[in-house]
């Protein structure tokens, strides 16, 4: 086995071969699925913890503060301490709630984001499922999360929760359109919905550069719409603290609250990964078509580092949004989507189709 950090294909194939040689086919598949599940779960938890820390630090710097700085170097272990605090907390029992729905709502939210992460390519060969409908799959499973939010708001039997859930539902359902349509713009350019083919298609330049202005407009629209879809500020009116205490998760405590919290951060990570993969080339290094020497230098940086770097760049932009803009009202939110983003998107798709038809892209 030759292991390299530039291409994980041989590594994963080696694991596959060892398992199939030593186990019956059924158990080999079962073990493989368990390995992938545990790996993604670990990654999920670690990234979630890191994102909470990053959010607090970024927020602190934006507001000219220091942020967490007591637990570990630069407060790095603060979120781990917070996690233990959340695990120890009592799960408050609510008397007049619909207990069954109240208990399954956090799981629906977290399973939706967990399903989406399975289709994301992390590096060359490090890709759990490579569907031919990759982008459509991610849009489909991430649309399930809103059901959990609606159920949580209703089953808590609390006015604030219900209002928060309604706002969140209206917001996610309308912004899903813009997310989908801005991705369609790039699907037209790429000619495929498969994530691996999309990444390969950017070997001679990322789509945001290859697609001229329409690709750039699609990128901006995707950033705005996906920030709204993940219920993050300035679109966080579903959990507006000053009006609704905490919105749909007001009545949740302990680990169930942590599930909502973690799912929110992971959804941000997932949309950032999709933006990085579809617009900025995913794990593909920065290549310029024709500049062989330059491309070779860029290839020295491992794909996984490129992927993480781009994803965190987009996450940083989304945090910047949150701590810069004031929260929108519900009417402003819906006006922005239905009167601005959606028409821009539709015209943009037409322009992109025309450019692809005429062969004007690189």
């Amino acid at each position: 086995m030759n292991f390299s950090i530039y291409d994980f294909t041989s590594f994963t194939q080696w694991i596959d071969k060892v398992l199939y040689d030593n186990l019956p086919a059924f158990w080999a598949i079962a073990v493989e699925m368990t390995i992938i599940g545990v790996a993604i779960l670990l990654f999920y938890a670690l990234i979630g913890l890191f994102l909470v820390y990053a959010e607090r630090k970024v927020c602190a710097f934006m507001q000219n503060r220091v942020g967490p700085n007591r637990v570990g170097p630069f407060g790095f272990f603060q979120t781990i301490a917070d996690l233990f605090k959340l695990l120890m907390k009592e799960l408050v029992y609510i008397k007049n709630a619909d207990k069954l729905l109240f208990n399954i709502a956090p799981f629906i939210v977290i399973i939706a984001s967990f399903m989406a992460i399975a289709a994301i390519p992390f590096a060359k060969g490090l890709h759990a499922i490579d569907f031919d409908i990759g982008i459509l799959y991610v849009i489909a499973v991430s649309s399930l999360g809103v059901v959990g939010i609606l159920l949580a708001g209703w089953s808590s039997n609390n006015k604030y929760s219900l209002i928060g859930a309604m706002r969140s539902g209206a917001q996610i359902v309308s912004y899903e359109l813009s997310v989908g349509l801005s991705l369609v713009t790039i699907i037209i350019l790429a000619g495929t919905m498969q994530f691996s083919a999309i990444v390969e298609g950017q070997a001679n330049g990322w789509f945001i550069f290859k697609g001229h202005i329409p690709a750039f407009i699609a990128f901006i629209v995707f950033l705005i719409a996906s920030t709204a879809e993940t219920n993050r500020g300035p679109f966080d009116l579903a959990e507006a603290e000053s009006e609704l205490t905490a919105g749909f998760h007001t009545e949740y405590s302990g680990i169930k609250f942590a599930f909502f919290f973690l799912a929110e951060y992971m959804n941000m990570f997932i949309v950032a990964s999709i933006a990085a993969t579809v617009f900025l080339g995913g794990w593909m290094p920065f290549h310029v078509g024709g500049w062989e020497g330059f491309n070779h230098i860029m290839d020295f940086i491992p794909p996984f580092v490129w992927y993480i770097g781009k994803t965190f760049f987009i996450i940083w932009i989304m945090m910047w949004f949150k701590w810069t803009f004031p929260r929108l009202r519900i009417d402003q939110l819906l006006t922005l989507e239905w009167k601005y983003l959606l028409p821009i998107n539709l015209v943009n798709i037409l322009i992109m189709a025309f450019i692809v038809l005429m062969g004007w892209h690189f």
Binding site: N96, L101, I133, Y137, S143, L151, W154, E176
Partner: protein, 170 residues
């Protein structure tokens, strides 16, 4: 038992159990949630058949769209304490007969149909490009006309909904 058979058994069990719970539950939002599980398991069944496109459409439209719409309207109209009444026998018996008749016809058709033993190579997976082309094709087996007719129907429905929802000025 192969993994595929195991997954088939799990999905079928989920579909059967939650379908029954959907119609027997007396709390309307729980019924909607059980319906969500049925639709998601059906989507899983399509994934098992490697019909990925249909599976994703099933998840987006039914689970992510229609169920969300149903839950939304329940949220606006019903209170958490509300419980549906137990329907009387006069309604249960015809409903049961209709459902049983539907099941008998379906099972009879499936058992009678002569399924091909072998699937021709390359046809076990529908290419998304084929679906896309046939949707806008005007030739035989093209769906351009039905597609446009459905869009006009949808437009008419939307205009109707807006007129109904709009307040009269008089």
């Amino acid at each position: 038992m192969t993994p595929n058979q195991l997954m088939f058994a799990i999905f079928s069990a989920v579909i059967i159990i939650f379908s029954i719970l959907t119609v027997t539950s007396r709390r309307i939002l729980r019924a909607a949630t059980y319906l969500l599980f049925v639709l998601v398991a059906t989507g899983g069944m399509y994934f098992l058949l490697r019909f990925n496109f249909l599976a994703a459409i099933q998840l987006t439209l039914y689970a992510g769209g229609i169920v969300v719409l149903i839950i939304f309207s329940i949220l606006l109209t019903s209170h958490i304490g509300d419980k549906l009444e137990q329907p009387d026998l006069k309604k249960i018996i015809p409903a049961f007969l209709a459902a049983a008749a539907g099941m008998v016809i379906t099972v009879f058709t499936i058992l009678k149909h002569n399924f091909p033993q072998e699937v021709a190579a390359g046809t076990d997976r529908t290419d998304i490009r084929v679906i896309a082309k046939s949707l806008i094709s005007t030739e035989k087996f093209g769906y351009a006309l039905p597609f446009e007719v459905i869009s006009i129907l949808l437009l008419a429905a939307m205009v109707g909904a807006i007129i109904l929802a709009k307040k009269r000025n008089d």
